[in-house]
Point group: C2
Chain length 404, copies 2
């Protein structure tokens, strides 16, 4: 398996594009994105667990009932959520795209992200549709990635190449997500495409299995959004024997998927609102996978730890504290904690108690852009990883007056 360029356009038969249609006021950024498969594609998705769900999710779920889709349309700047006419607008977006692409509306998936509770008008979308479809191109991934961004500061795209049944396949994706990011749901907007041949049910199985270890292990601020979803389309144009059951090919597909999703998780966490640092918490020695995940997520979600990481302060007591309230049943007197980065690695806690360490060395390690928080529970074989970011002045600034 190797990393390649192209994002959602890396897989054969996929094009993408993005334009600025005017949903976002006072902005020069693109606010409308489109992804298109020239051939029918198996499709799978996972959605937020928030009871307050954006209207686009309801429409996408309906359109995915047959496990097939050809296109995804997504706007930024308005979540189309908590609006009386939300379903009508989301269906309208699908219909406009379907007409322009000569598809059935049911083959178009819809997503929105932005402010909640402000009515979304179809007018700018209708007016921008011509330019949007015209923008579709195999080189269009950066435009689509920009079109779905809100407070993101960088575009997030990645793709890999891998082999299935002797045929080269590709799987790539784009993501958006900077604030309102939290475990236990499909955490953000992620659109993935592949030219592998795989049945809709196995595609859904692959996606649902993957997110428990990837997007559900990312947290920026503990807020579970109303609109987030992960969509995966696979059009089979690579020509491999269709995957219809578990086996070596499915495992290989899962690995490709995991490489892409972990890459996007790291990009999302590292670009957390106001973040200056990517935090990766690696938990080992857990009595079970569930406990490992609880611990990793609890650490990555601690506001106190996040603020300490911003200040490059090796306050390991906050790691232990977060483990203690994670809900996992643990013997806290066996826990070791360390910090690592490309500047080195340091042990700060052994058997639940502090060990002497060089504050100077710790400061050096924690001043890097990517920090690993290493936890060995020493009470089993299970492991898990979670991704997050530091808590900074800018998070507060960005969210103190988001709407205006």
């Amino acid at each position: 398996m190797k990393l390649i360029e192209g994002g959602v356009c890396a897989a054969k038969g996929f094009t993408a594009g993005g334009v600025r249609c005017g949903i976002r006021k006072n902005r020069t950024k693109k606010d409308l994105a489109l992804i298109f498969s020239e051939a029918p594609a198996s499709a799978a998705a996972v959605y937020t667990t928030n009871l307050v769900k954006g209207a686009p999710l309801t429409v996408t779920k309906k359109h995915l009932a047959d496990g097939q889709a050809r296109a995804v349309i997504c706007n930024s700047g308005n979540a189309n959520t908590c609006n009386a006419n939300g379903i009508e607008i989301a269906e309208g977006m699908a219909k406009l795209a379907a007409e322009a692409l000569d598809l059935r509306p049911e083959d178009v998936l819809v997503a929105s992200t932005g402010v909640i509770g402000e009515p979304l008008s179809l007018t700018p979308i209708a007016e921008g549709m011509g330019a949007l479809v015209k923008s579709l191109s195999p080189e269009g991934c950066p435009d689509a990635a920009e079109g779905i961004m809100t407070t993101d500061t960088v575009r997030k795209e990645i793709a890999v190449e891998f082999e299935l049944g002797g045929r080269l396949c590709r799987l790539g994706g784009i993501a958006k997500g900077s604030g309102m990011i939290h475990p236990n749901m499909a955490t953000m907007l992620v659109f993935l495409t592949s030219d592998a041949a795989i049945s809709p049910s196995m595609l859904q199985k692959a996606l649902s299995g993957d997110i428990t270890r990837t997007f559900n292990m990312v947290s920026v601020d503990g807020d579970t959004s109303t609109n987030d979803m992960v969509v995966l389309l696979a059009n089979g144009l690579a020509g491999n024997p269709e995957i219809t059951e578990e086996g070596p090919d499915f495992t290989c597909f899962m690995q490709a998927l995991n490489t892409v999703t972990v890459g996007l998780c790291r990009m999302i966490a590292g670009d957390g609102e106001g973040a200056t640092k990517l935090l990766e918490c690696r938990v080992h020695g857990a009595p079970g996978e569930q406990a490992a995940r609880q611990v990793a997520k609890s650490v990555i979600c601690s506001s106190l730890l996040k603020a300490a990481m911003f200040g490059a302060d090796a306050n390991w007591g906050r790691v232990l504290c977060a483990i203690g309230y994670s809900g996992a049943a643990l013997d806290v007197n066996r826990i070791d904690v360390g910090f690592a980065s490309k500047a080195g690695e340091i042990r700060v806690c052994k058997n639940g108690a502090g060990v002497p360490f060089s504050e100077e060395e710790a400061k050096k390690i924690l001043s890097e852009r990517e920090i690993d928080i290493l936890v060995d529970l020493n009470q089993g074989d299970a492991a898990a990883t979670a991704w997050g970011c530091d808590l900074t002045y800018d998070y507060v600034k960005i969210n103190g007056d988001y709407r205006t």
Copy 2:
């Protein structure tokens, strides 16, 4: 019932004091506090639910096994947690205080708050004990309240007077807590005293019953501390017939307790680390009390909402979003949301969707120091209130380099 002066010294027979013994480096603040009852007292306590527990909690639990206590000693600047010799030190503190006060060590309760994982030396405590005991006085509550503060910016004390069986009784308290404050535990250090006569088991019942509606409904940052406890002593010197079962007197005692604890909750939330605003989320119309509490806590814990309140931004979508991921089973299409303060009240969401409102008026309401977030779920009769604060630049600043 009326509010009176005196805090923990308002009740007959209680004195308190505080000194600076030198645990906290480079500080002029007092770091050691003592509360003393001249008569034997029933005692009750609740503790953090964090698996990582400070050594003082273990010792206090042991000393409370007989439901009796005469004194509480508490230091700030060091949590005495995750230290190999923690129990020994906590027992040493009790022993030092017991010797100086001519009590059994088992009648002294111990608490600590501050940095985790740095060994606590008994030396400054032993050296300061003489002055500490000497500082005990009926006017000593402010000194004790200062002695337990960490990042708190104001002392927190309150007391009430009420009648039981024809006798005037008093109940008062002090609290400490600014960061690492979160529901689902005894959230902070709170010491309460009363001169009412009440059996140890009824005292524990009163305290355990009260905290689910009070301290467990306060959140500053979602971090559950390792050291927090609420202690309640009642020495019976008011001379009322001892409360030994439920009934009108117990109800009256509960009301007095609740008045004091709600007052302290509001002080703690309003003095949250970096906070500029006290937030009170009042939920009505819930299908059950548990659901009401889940919703109120979820709203008050949302980082996005807290940042929006800092910015006086009426972003009600974030209220609805937090309700949606609260875990309570609700019909989100029946929810009304409003904001209120002494500048007025405004409805911003009706039946789960936005309603037109004056941004100017909203800004005025949200610019006050105390904000009410009003949620009517319109699907039952249960209600709950939670207290929190806004998320500000200063929270990050305070916690970016707490240890040094």
